[in-house]
Chain length 147, copies 2
Amino acid sequence: MDDRIGYVLKQAQQALRTAMDDALRRHGLTTPQYAALDAVGASGAISGAELARRSFVTPQTMNGIIANLLAAGLVERHVNPADTRVLRVSLTPTGQRRLEACQHEIDAIQERMVSGLGPDEQRWLIETLRRCAETLTVSFGEGPGSM
Amino acid sequence: MDDRIGYVLKQAQQALRTAMDDALRRHGLTTPQYAALDAVGASGAISGAELARRSFVTPQTMNGIIANLLAAGLVERHVNPADTRVLRVSLTPTGQRRLEACQHEIDAIQERMVSGLGPDEQRWLIETLRRCAETLTVSFGEGPGSM
DNA sequence: CCTATCTCAGAATAACTGAAATGC
DNA sequence: CGCATTTCAGTTTTTCTGAGATAG
């Protein structure tokens, strides 16, 4: 019963989430906030809707996350001249520094999580998880903020 | 950036969660409700606190889930004569039928998720995920519903 | 004009923290 | 008294509706 893929998947994700929450709390960030900040840092100027898709949340939820990041002065929004519908989010200098300060710790946590595996096993695990997700996604819909 | 264990873990769990939500909606259940119902079915009479630990949620959240299952007539609560503090949750006949009706579909979804893997690979994946979670849990705290 | 996408606003649901009451 | 279970209160987060604005 506890040897189902669904159970261990939930178990692993919960363990990672808890470790990330503990580490990020010292930086005044939540895990969803960090995920959004990391996506902005990797993509430059990006819309809230696109950010929502990459973070597996709804656009409304991402809007709330962005509002908190705005209030903390970590990101800023500007109208895209090429498409006045979208408000592109980008990092402030403060946000850039905060992101870099967190990335080292988060990367270390993820590396510790797979530290019991060899390099080949780590690559196999990641590739296998991606394939499992894709197998399920082709026959069904995707996450709330993805399409 | 999208080849990190954290990303693919979230991706896989999101895909499974969406597929389960879609399947369970036709039975009038949510995924957390099914998880609780399944744990009750596997354990017989069980306390809300223990149920919370097995479902990776807080006791308060499990209390709300149980309240919904009670209102739907799928479970019932009785005082444990040996310890009058605990309210043990057990399945009603209706809950037993509803659980069995869902289990076939949920099992099929989980099997489809790993259908691209051989039997040995499936066992290795599950065992590896369990070890990854344990590696992270020994140095940090566990889920929200554990202490 | 019509369709799709992005964003915002209000209400409802769900989840967590903190703390209190109860019984072992 | 220490510990575990349950429950209450307050807050935050997330989602669900529905709407308005703009691009193609």
